[in-house]
Amino acid sequence: MEKIFARLSQVSASLVFVVLVSTLVTLYISAKPAIEEFGAKFLIDARWGVDVPIEPPSSDHKPAQQASQSSVSNAHLDNGTNAGDEDDGINVGDDDDGINVGGDGVVSNAPHKEVFGGAVAIVGTVFSTIIALLFAVPLAMGIAIFLSEIAAPAISKPVGIAIELLAAIPSIIYGMWGLFYFGPFIASIFGGHSVSLLVAGLVLGVMVIPFMAALSRDAINTTPDVLKEAAYAVGATKFEVIKDVVFPYAKAGIIGSIIISLGRALGETMAVAFVIGGVFEFAKSVTDPTNSIPVVLANNFSESSGLSLASLFYLSLILFVVSFIVIFTAKHYFLRRGK
């Protein structure tokens, strides 16, 4: 019995590694054609599904970055998916056909090939996540401290339950809310488009706040009363006790809550798909629409094959690695410093 139990737990533990490694391997194999075709340039190439002549006269060819931007916007105009359209809020399904299938607008007799690059999606993912955290961390900390240290139980209990309910809302609902109400509201304040990098970041922020707040509150609640009393007993004020005793004591748990939220924000698909715009263009300001890795994946898988499919796998491999690195370093760096 003892042995069976030990064996079983060993098996379940090794399952984790099997899943991890096999995911990585399958992603790599599926992405291989794109990796061989585009190499590391994929990371800085902003073009997606753009036809280019195979042997361009070198004099015409501008450096990659600029060339790609202009050709992408041309492709959009051709297909009628410029930013103006997205404001109506019917972007999600629409742009895919326009942008990625790629060939129909750009007609050319010369031999040509499709080029894919992940730069727009990568940058969009990184920046929407940064915006989300900048917005969510201070608010979530405020909520957590209010619930655990300031509010009377009669208030903190119902508010705590409300926060847990918020955390349970499926992300697609946040997406719809963001698209129809929050996005236009933000646009009316900051100007720009009602689907944009900013709206995506803020919706992501709103989504992760409940997680972050609930987990941080739990971490803060582990601070022993007697430790706080000891700080009051040397004359500290409530603010000082929170800042100097409660926070440092709960640091590991608070950072953990931020890391979990970070992971969630990096990989969030549905909510962002509704509000980021889904266009393969860099956002020149935060109020412009752009794209993110999970959104590109979700929007394009159904119509992709061959090289475009491999490119999607390449993107997902990048997301996998980025999430892994971010979470690993955050955990390693902060938790070690926290000790």
Binding site: V226, E229, Y232, V234, G235, V245, P248
Partner: protein
């Protein structure tokens, strides 16, 4: 009993916890003598901690406590104030700096050993780095802790042993030069050797400080205290010289408790 000045005088004091129906302390009258050690003894639940925690009003961190009577504290200029009149946060801070408290479990703050002592000092307005350094080193030397921690002043205090942590917590309070120090079973979580070290430390402190200590340990009370108060079910049964208390108590109840017939 000799005539010695009181640092604190508890008068007709009753205390009721928030939402509790009956008072946990009833009509307590107790002096705390200057530069002496007063022990509070009694069976579990009799209200020793409750009384001690009223003396710096740490109870007030949790709203809804009800006090009656007076707790008079002698100020440095000789005037006397009732700490139950305190209402403003600044006055609470001043009170707690004057009436320090050490808890049952060591409570090192989540910071370095140095910062643990510097923390209260900074709050008390000592910000100059050299002054801080001087006070911290001096306090650690006085606490006989210096040799053990001098190489690790800037490491997390939670890395110390339990006994060292408790001595650090005492040092932290002593550095503030309080008028009165309150100890709530400071050695009950420690091994016998650490316990002795702390008893010695407390004995050394009474030259300069007034001390009230709650203890479950009769030997400890008789070893270190000058006066003893015996409490039972929220009443103060007897207050006496420790020598008298442990040899010839006035009350039968005290005698029963001390000789281990109950409690």
């Amino acid at each position: 009993m000799k005539d010695i000045a009181n640092i604190m005088e508890i008068q007709d004091f009753s205390f009721t916890y928030p939402k509790a129906e009956n008072p946990s302390l009833k009509n307590i009258n107790l002096p705390i003598k200057e530069n002496h050690i007063t022990a509070l003894i009694g069976p579990s639940g009799c209200g020793k901690s409750t009384l001690l925690r009223a003396m710096n009003r740490i109870h007030d961190l949790y709203p809804g406590c009800h006090y009656e009577g007076a707790i008079k504290l002698k100020n440095q200029d000789g005037s006397i104030g009732n700490i139950l009149d305190i209402k403003k946060e600044n006055d609470f801070i001043a009170l707690r700096q004057r009436v320090g408290m050490i808890f049952q479990k060591p409570t090192p703050f989540p910071m370095t050993i140095y910062e643990n002592i510097a923390y209260g000092l900074r709050i008390a307005g000592i910000k100059n780095k050299n002054d801080l350094e001087e006070i911290i080193v001096k306090s650690l030397q006085d606490a006989a802790l210096w040799n053990e921690v001098k190489d690790r002043l800037h490491q997390d205090a939670r890395g110390l042993s339990g006994g060292q942590q408790q001595r650090l917590c005492i040092t932290r309070v002593v550095a503030l030069k309080p008028d009165l120090m309150l100890f709530d079973e400071p050695t009950s979580a420690l091994d016998p050797i650490s316990t002795l070290a702390i008893e010695e430390m407390i004995l050394g402190l009474k030259e300069k400080y007034s001390i009230a200590i709650v203890t479950h340990n009769m030997q400890q009370a008789s070893r270190i205290s000058d006066y003893t108060a015996f409490m039972y079910l929220g009443d103060l049964v007897e207050f006496n010289d420790t020598d008298v208390m442990f040899t010839n108590p006035k009350e039968q109840q005290t005698n029963n408790y001390i000789t281990g017939k109950f409690g």
